[in-house]
Symmetry: C2
Subunit: 333 residues, 2 copies
């Protein structure tokens, strides 16, 4: 686990998209974010107070989180100066960057001298077991998509937030670097060795209270040929009691695969449920989450209503209208 609260490092981010990890932390776990740190040429903000390292330390921040995508794929000298100073002052560092903190000699040396930890959340830090398939207590919901990047993480975070607002027992279980940085822990599933994939999901979602819900962050799609193995491991390792189908209705083709079309929601429902029932015969499809960002409000409302009538399942865009109806459905399971 990464120590909270964080100081969010925005570096020289030029726009909100570059700072989306920091934005995610601020949106979903504001209690984890003491403030933001920007370099002079940073052109965006996540709306938190700007703190110096000294001010963040005084405010109790324990980890400097790199909340920005870096340009050119390397950690610049301007960044490194701040990161080394943060280590010297007693902060841990956490990063989801493709190029690892642990590959930077200066950071490794400074961490060692100061007894600090470098968290590269893209890389597994645990020797996960092989899945044993034993039925676990507690309830689990898995978001499965017609495609990659259709809003599975957002849907899970929104259902978790709604449950906690209602006083229900709920945990979001991240399987990718952004989710791990938001919550401070999880499994970077796409970096796990094949034999341990489903075991890593079991590890992530252990026995729990009977009325506790894990919201497991979905990855890939059973219909995306590049990543379907990861999705399959989530469906079996997660033993979901409930599936939420996630969809983006304006895609011309599967993400990154020009020759492949998205499946219909009916096909996703049937396939995902069939496979999920191998691990949990009681699994049900609870609802549908549609990412309508490329539709107008009127188009979105019409589309959601059409899908709901056709599929007979509560159908929402949690970004526009909240996850309340999905949580209502889960509460019936």
């Amino acid at each position: 686990m990464i120590q909270t609260p964080y100081l969010l490092f925005l570096g020289d981010a030029q726009d909100g998209l570059a700072a989306k990890v920091a934005q995610g932390i601020k949106d979903w776990r504001p209690e984890n974010a003491a403030g933001q740190f920007r370099l002079p040429d940073c052109n965006t903000s996540v709306g938190l107070p700007d703190l110096t390292l000294e001010e963040a330390k005084a405010a109790g921040a324990r980890t400097l989180v790199i909340g920005v995508a870096n340009r050119g794929g390397y950690i610049s000298n301007a960044w490194k100066e701040v990161l080394v100073e943060a280590l010297r002052m007693g902060f841990d560092l956490a990063s989801g960057l493709h190029n690892l903190l642990r590959d930077e000699d200066e950071l490794v040396a400074a961490a060692r001298v100061n007894g600090r930890t470098l968290h590269d959340v893209r890389v597994p830090s645990v020797a996960y077991p092989i899945a044993n398939g034993v039925k676990r207590s507690g309830k689990r919901c898995l978001a499965v998509g017609t495609d990659c990047s259709v809003g599975k993480m957002y849907t899970g975070l929104a259902m978790d937030a709604e449950m906690r607002k209602r006083g229900m027992k709920s945990t979001f279980r991240p399987t990718g670097q952004t989710g791990i940085l938001i919550t401070g822990g999880g499994v970077p599933l796409d970096a796990v060795i094949a034999d341990f994939l489903a075991g890593a999901v079991e590890y992530l979602t252990p026995d729990n209270d009977d009325d506790h819900w894990d919201h497991i962050e979905g990855q890939g799609s059973l219909f995306h040929v590049s990543y379907s193995g990861v999705t399959m491991a989530l469906v079996h390792g997660g033993q979901p009691d409930a599936l939420v189908l996630c969809h983006e209705p304006t895609r011309a083709h599967m993400r990154g695969l020009p020759d492949y079309q998205q499946p219909a929601l009916e096909q996703l429902r049937d396939t995902a449920l069939h496979m999920a029932r191998v691990a949990n015969p009681a699994c049900e499809v609870a609802g549908i989450s549609v990412n309508t960002q490329h539709l107008s409000e009127a188009e979105a409302v019409a589309y959601l209503s059409d899908v709901e009538a056709r599929m007979g399942l509560p159908t929402v865009d949690p970004f526009r209208h909240g996850a309340g109806r999905l949580v209502d459905a889960l509460a019936q399971i």
Copy 2:
């Protein structure tokens, strides 16, 4: 690729099961095996001439292959003496053991001094790409199982052997350490990082002549919750034109999973075909391969005949009756 021919190291193997890798090489690629090397306390043989290192060298052997499972999970001093001497004499070493050659300092040093290669075939040696799903030329057959360890490798090797006997263009494509040692190359799929699983299968089965068949070694099962992610990546990365369903009819439960029952062959057929058609809409189920080792000949014949009538697909045990009818079916595709 591992240099052939091999000298097969049986070490101190106490029975045929311990020497099954060596036996597989001798059975399927006798042209790869110059002879066997046994320590004084070895109690089994794969029926090849016993050669000293000098004799093997003179016979043209280029790699000493550890064709035996080691006891206690470590490489003993008695083994190491032979392995170091083999490196000194100019042999490469190849091993599918869980404990790696490259973790043994003496072997690493001897390989370096003598300019030899240590092949640990459990560990990927290639940075596999992410799968791109682009349609490849040539034909591919994938063995899929109701469970793990039901004869998928045997079935693929038998179909490949039968095709080559008939003068057809055919290659066996190994995805596990035994298959890799038998043929000299392949992908150790269970050790590949999740993001690259399907890409590794694409890499293993590249474009080929239109009338060439790849027989892709299956792994796991879509219905085995511990390993289904690996199987899914084979189904999508392999783009199979044909599936062969593999089954062992006497299992009380899924291998290693006492709470899980095997699916019916009908369920495997429908599920595997549905998923395979995502990557290759023309995919067909060509036949069924049953491992009848726990049935008498009469029981086996009756079982095969029942399944064939029920499923309407050629159904054989290739160990008992050869893979000819499966190849007949593939030749129609």
